[in-house]
């Protein structure tokens, strides 16, 4: 199944797999290492995701007339059918213009992008027999490849290559990619061409007669008549005036009328005869933002980070790194010798330093790489900070240690598109982020604060956990917190009478708080006090100060004061002002006495006097 069910976090966001990173978020459409859809109405039931590594290729449709922009994702053929399909595609790739694929449907006016967007296409392996440069099959997946994976023979001499050779070529191709410009592999829609261009197998989506009317951002458009490269937004050629739209459709693009609600994903099932896997996913961009989404998708498809998953993230200093400079560290078989004493310690320090050098060196090679190795860099910076100044409190350092973790989870402003709705999207993502942060059991932010924390405290903790990057402004923070209710998240923002804003679980209502307070005060009736009290404590219990309450429930003093005042306001408590400060009591003043003793007193006095 191409579409899979996803796990959601407490904040109704997709749960990340280990090492998964959020790349980009758009309203209703999120691109992770995989594309996730989270339904607004019934998030637990109607959410779905696609692994990007299952995506064979994607097509971009810019939108036309009333149909909005779309991106179609074509899944890789399932494992069973991959044997035959792979051979087809591997033959297809080098000579794509030669023949039409047997599966192509010529009636569809949509044309394949000129360049194969799939990452593996650029990798080549050199035949050890005839040294002909063969392309690595596009369906070749280094992660899943094994000795049983069928490999296409050399195109020149027909000898099958050894698996190791192809594997190496594929991986080096994938790693080289990040330094190359991605525009080379960007899909370039070709317009107006009538010849039968080949199609990759397993395309199940039939577009209407809309055709491809626009190019992706940054790509220019070739005029079918004079071959002048036009700006993609032009409707007719700048040079010769030839219309750049297909002939059979009327020109004059209408702005698509905005539709309010975006429906959830529906599966397209158009099984042409003889096809096994015929699914495809269309992402429709009614609210716009398709270009930037396409851009990001393109980027992540080319980077193919999931290929690196499982591979050691940092090159460890081994014998080959140290070389002859440090002789004797390793045996000829590559195993490390255990060296004892100061020499051994020094040597290990040296190794660590070398390794650090390597990490830092790699990280600053270019920014892309820096983003990729951000985790390691943060961890490294932390270890530096820990070793240099161990003055911070244990709690602070624990928080700092989480910052690397937090880095993988944060929503930053540059992850979002620059559309009109980006501000609100940022806020809602931030709100979800915060909710996750609060309900995270490992951190226990809310639990440690007794289930209630003031917004200011939370802001400080949150920004600290972000490790000094992408700090959130107080305004954004408050706005995001106000969105919790709307997003049905499990935390809520509450305003006390004095205007203090606090955060607590949405299940914690005032009634519940009063109940716990009263239960506590009731307990005080039962336990004899430490010192002699002048009143009947079994009857009235004891008065409690905000300090007592804060200690009892683990609240901060301000919160305790506010909660007590709230309970007083509701009539559950009453106050006693004395030199010891303000104390709160169960409200025996409002409660009526069981016996009208005042009357009894009067009667008693009268009778005694008679």
């Amino acid at each position: 199944m191409f579409l899979k069910h996803i796990d959601l976090t407490t904040a109704l966001r997709p749960a990340y797999l280990p090492d998964e990173v959020l790349l980009f978020v758009q309203d209703s459409v999120g691109l992770y290492e995989g594309i996730c859809y989270v339904d607004n109405a019934d998030p637990r039931k109607n959410s779905t995701a696609i692994d990007l590594k299952d995506v064979d290729r994607f097509e971009f449709y810019a939108g036309f007339l009333k149909s909005s922009a779309k991106i179609t994702l074509v899944p890789k053929p399932s494992k069973r059918s991959s044997v035959q399909n792979r051979s087809i595609s591997s033959l297809n790739t080098p000579s794509r213009s030669a023949t039409a694929s047997p599966l192509s449907r010529s009636e569809s006016p949509f044309h394949l992008p000129a360049a194969e967007p799939s990452a593996s296409s650029s990798a080549t392996w050199i035949c050890p027999i005839c040294s002909f440069s063969n392309p690595v099959p596009s369906n070749f997946d280094p992660v899943t490849a094994s000795a049983h994976t069928p490999l296409a023979p050399c195109l020149s001499c027909g000898i099958k290559p050894p698996l190791a050779l192809v594997l190496k070529a594929a991986i080096s191709g994938a790693t080289n990619r990040s330094s190359q410009s991605t525009s080379l592999r960007s899909p370039m829609p070709v317009r107006g061409r009538a010849d039968s261009s080949p199609r990759l197998p397993s395309d199940g989506t039939a577009y209407g007669n809309g055709g491809d009317t626009n190019a992706s951002t940054g790509a220019s458009f070739q005029c079918p008549r004079c071959t002048f490269l036009n700006h993609p937004s032009l409707l007719s050629c700048e040079l010769c005036g030839a219309p750049l739209l297909s002939q059979d459709i009327p020109t004059g693009l209408d702005k698509p009328t905005p539709r309010n609600e975006s429906p959830g994903p529906t599966l397209n099932h158009l099984p042409p005869p003889g096809m096994e896997s015929n699914e495809s996913i269309k992402l429709s961009f009614r609210g716009g933002g398709e270009k930037i989404f396409h851009e990001r998708l393109k980027g992540s498809m080319t980077q193919r980070k999931w290929l690196l998953q499982g591979a050691p993230p940092v090159p460890k200093s081994t014998r080959s790194d140290n070389g002859p400079a440090v002789p004797g560290t390793t045996t000829p078989t590559g195993e490390r010798i255990k060296s004892a004493g100061i020499a051994g310690l020094e040597q290990r320090r040296m190794e660590v330093r070398k390794n650090n050098e390597l990490v830092i060196g790699n990280a600053f090679e270019d920014l892309e790489a820096l983003m990729a190795s951000a985790k390691e860099i943060v961890a490294l910076a932390e270890s530096f900070a820990n070793s240099s100044g161990s003055s911070g409190s244990s709690e602070a350092s624990a928080l700092l240690a989480q910052s690397a973790n937090a880095l993988g989870l944060v929503t930053t402003k540059d992850m979002l598109g620059s559309g009109s709705s980006s501000e609100s999207l940022y806020l809602s993502e931030l709100a979800r982020n915060l909710a996750e942060f609060l309900t995270d059991d490992a951190r226990g932010v809310l639990r440690k604060a007794g289930g209630i924390i003031s917004l200011v405290d939370l802001w400080a903790v949150f920004n600290r956990a972000r490790g000094g990057v992408e700090l959130v402004s107080p305004t954004d923070f408050e706005k995001a917190a106000r969105l919790w209710g709307k997003l049905k998240l499990p935390v809520r923002l509450r305003q006390f009478k004095s205007g203090v804003l606090v955060v607590q679980g949405s299940d914690r209502t005032d009634e519940k708080t009063i109940k716990t307070l009263l239960a506590w005060l009731k307990d005080l009736h039962a336990f004899p006090p430490d010192e002699e009290l002048s009143w009947d404590w079994q009857m009235f219990g004891r008065g409690v100060t905000a300090q007592d309450t804060a200690e009892r429930f683990g609240w901060s003093l301000g919160v305790a004061e506010e909660e007590l005042e709230m309970a007083e306001e509701k009539g559950a408590l009453c106050r006693e002002e004395s030199i010891e400060g303000l104390k709160y009591w169960e409200n025996w003043i409002v409660q009526d006495e069981p016996t009208a003793s005042e009357l009894a007193v009067v009667v008693g006095v009268n009778t005694s006097m008679i």
Partner: protein, 185 residues
């Protein structure tokens, strides 16, 4: 003003209500409902106490140190301001009346003048003293009235009660100053 201060030691055993032993009762409550409950409980307490101790006129300054407003066991006392508030509340209820604008002394109407007038008339009726002349002193201090609530009544209050009876035509007050007498019809 001998009557305004509560008798220092009385043989009557006045039982204070439960709230009197509750520390917050002596602090001003801010919450509206609680404050109202506090006021009415204080009003009841003051009236009950005044009745038990035959207090007709309450001087706040003096009473603040008395047991009514000062719970020695709790080391709690009602502040002058709060006590004044309580009496204000009683005035609104018709259960007290300030004497003078400076609000230091107040009548505590644990019986209103009307009720006092009725009580006196009843007593006169019951004892068959209609149409006979009694001195005011006799009315409040003689042994004959010792079982009556108006025994030891404040002369001013007695004047008020009698004037009500006079208005109704049930009595006539004559004489002057200390020598006043009253005739009931």
């Amino acid at each position: 003003m001998a009557t305004t201060a509560p008798p220092p030691t009385t043989t009557t055993s006045f039982t204070f209500p439960r709230e009197y032993h509750f520390p917050p009762f002596f602090s001003r409550q801010t919450q509206a409902t609680t404050h109202h409950a506090q006021c009415s409980k204080w009003s009841a307490l003051i009236r009950a106490y005044s009745r038990a101790h035959k207090v007709f006129k309450l001087s706040l300054i003096d009473a603040l140190d008395g047991e009514l407003f000062h719970n020695a066991a709790l080391h709690k006392r009602l502040s002058l301001e709060d006590a004044r508030d309580m009496l204000d509340f009683m005035c609104r209820e018709g259960r007290a009346e300030w004497i003078g604008a400076e609000k230091n002394v107040a009548w505590i109407w644990w019986r209103s003048p009307d009720e006092w007038a009725a009580a006196i008339a009843d007593w006169v009726d019951q004892t068959g003293q209609k149409n006979s002349v009694l001195t005011l002193y006799e009315l409040t201090e003689s042994e004959a009235t010792i079982s009556q609530e108006f025994h030891g009544m404040d002369p001013e209050l007695l004047q008020k009660a009698l004037s009500i009876l006079v208005k109704r035509g049930k009595a006539q007050v004559f004489g002057q100053e200390d020598q006043q007498g009253v005739k009931f019809f």
